[in-house]
């Protein structure tokens, strides 16, 4: 006998990411999931944003790495609450790991949660963490063909942040090509060009994050 099921796998079975969603909704916390290749500047961008956030006290950060708490230590110096997840054998943060971290944190004053996923453009794209929006980073040193090679992450991200733009004069990176490919993958994607070193582009990104956050949390 044949049974028609027509059920999507991740939506049906992922209890942990649903639990994260309801925890965030209850506390009106806006959550961003930062995804990129290793070395494209996720931690540096988060640090640069923290330096400029007015309501920094309302920001909490969760760092995901296979090993070490080097990134959490960097973030801690900026005076915000931070948790490190070591994913060990996993190349991405699992929803259950994030849920565990959030349950250990004091989120009473938190308005914005930044999750820095493990550096990887493939697997994190496959695993929703209950976030409100994904932020994919692409540094200009990585090459402009990335949206074509890793379409899923670009298709599912609300924001695309092109990082290290101060290096544009020294590398062969066609910003227009990336913008075009990213828009084909996701016509609604919002694209920002930033340099955490010079600070260029950061205010616009910060304003957008703040607008998205206050739309949810007031």
């Amino acid at each position: 006998m044949r049974i028609e099921v027509e059920r999507s796998i991740q939506q049906s079975a992922d209890e942990a990411s649903r639990a994260i969603r309801s925890l965030l909704a209850e506390r009106r916390i806006y959550a961003l999931n930062f995804i990129s290749s290793p070395g494209s500047g996720k931690t540096t961008l988060i640090e640069a944003l923290l330096d400029r956030f007015e309501g920094k006290g309302g920001v909490a950060v969760v760092e995901g790495d296979i090993e070490t708490d080097i990134d959490a230590e960097r973030i801690r110096k900026h005076g915000v609450q931070v948790r490190q997840i070591n994913t060990r054998s996993s190349c991405h943060i699992q929803p259950s790991q994030l849920l565990g971290a959030l349950r250990e944190m004091d989120l009473s004053g938190t308005r914005l949660l930044i999750v820095e996923n493990v550096g990887n453009l493939v697997c994190p794209a496959e695993v929703p963490l209950g976030e409100d929006a994904r932020v994919v980073l692409l540094s200009v040193t990585e090459g402009d063909e990335k949206p074509l090679k890793y379409p899923l992450v670009f298709k599912t991200s609300r924001l695309l942040v092109i990082t290290k733009t101060d290096l544009l004069p020294y590398v062969k990176f066609d910003v227009g090509k990336v913008r075009r490919a990213a828009r084909i993958a996701n016509p609604a994607v919002e694209i920002f060009e930033v340099s955490a070193v010079s600070g260029a582009g950061l205010p616009a990104l910060l304003d957008r994050v703040e607008a998205l956050r206050s739309a949810k949390g007031g």
Binding site: M1, R2, E4, S8, I9, Q10, A13, I184
Partner: protein, 108 residues
């Protein structure tokens, strides 16, 4: 992923009072990082000793749907940023990211 599939398969099988699950049809988009051979291996390993023991996993590939302003609709096996037919740049790309259980074949 294999575990999630098995969970849904078993609950559907139980709901229909199945004696065993003969096969499972999945729809997997070409953009997903799913290796069919690995998935089948893991599924059959996890299904051992359950109603789905020995069930065959059939994977239907879901292509990317390309809509081109110049030449209409077409399909592609990978992400495209120009029309695979006429090489035009005025395209939109949809689909290719499904991960669904389509149906089960069960014995009652």
């Amino acid at each position: 992923m294999a575990n999630e599939i098995l969970g849904v398969v078993l609950s559907e099988a139980e709901r229909h009072a199945a004696r065993r699950v003969a096969s499972v049809i999945l729809r997997v988009g070409v953009l997903r990082a799913v290796e069919p051979e690995h998935l089948c291996f893991l599924f059959s390993h996890l299904a051992h000793g359950t109603l789905a023991d020995g069930a065959r996993l059939e994977i239907q590939e879901e292509p990317v749907r390309v809509e081109c302003v110049d030449c209409g609709k077409t399909e592609a096996r990978s992400f495209a940023w120009e029309c695979p037919r006429c090489k035009g740049s005025g395209i939109t790309v949809q689909g290719g990211d499904s991960l669904e259980i389509v149906s089960l074949e069960i014995d009652i």
